[in-house]
Amino acid sequence: MSAADPDPLDATHRDGVVRVMPLAVVVLIFGISYGVLSRAAGFASIQTILFSATTFGGSAQFATASVADAGGTAAAAILAALMLNLRYLPIGISVAPALHGPWYERLLRAQLVVDEVWAVSRVGDGYHRRLLLGAGVTLYASWVVGTLLGVIGGGLIGDPAALGLDAAFPALFLALLAGQVSDQRSRIAAVGGGAIALALVPLVPPGIPVVAAGAMCLLGLRPVRGSDAA
């Protein structure tokens, strides 16, 4: 990104809000379903809302709820969730130049940068501060308000299984996965991760198969052949 690049750098917070608005509707509904499912998995209302407010990461929260619901240990749920969120390490590093300021501001603003916010805030080779913040605050509000609505309405909705909400889990993860298998190596990681998990389900406690699937990341140690290093 060049500092002299005129148009995108004029972007306002409002532009960030507008860019992410269609996703905000989706996130609100996912927030509602998360609130319902988390309560069904045995989490208290205050725990569910606090979890959304601090973690603000759909896949990790759904994973935690599903491992807990399946009778997995806290350690397995924590490991699976944190491994899912490890992708925010490189994402955080990639947006670091756009998040200058005092340390507490950088820490707080970094919490807003989830996948979708990151994706809509790219300008040239870098990330735009006001787009990140506008989009981030919008999605954060959607997620937390959605969770709150789900927690409140959860008792009214009834049995999540009868509504097929348990099938929403794998469908959501599949849709997120479809956006992440951009090259051959990521496809191999996905197929290998799925195979490892499937093979381990009968052998180890719930949650562990997902953590073990993370071993496929060792593929990253191999040099990339050909030119599709990006």
Binding site: L84, L89, R106, L165, A171, G194, G214
Partner: protein
Amino acid sequence: MSATWVMVLVVGAGTVAIKGAGPLLLGGRALPGRVNAMVVLLGPALLAALVVTNTFALGRSLTVDARAAGLLAAVIALCLRAPVLVVVFVAAATAAAVRALS
């Protein structure tokens, strides 16, 4: 402290630390290439594992039930380039319909 509190607090604190680490500590510096490549591959590997366990696992046994029908519907919806929201709705509706009929 209950197991659910431990999960909420540890995952919450851990995620805050992971998200904040780059902007807080590293500034503009990048991860070493191979470490970065490994972190990037965690996404697809873990998501695929979540897809199969959430579809086919029932505790420690493997089963094919209404969730599998939901996943099949999700695959079809994804192939038709449906938005994420539609994919999830189609899967849930399909699983609910299969349960209602069986």
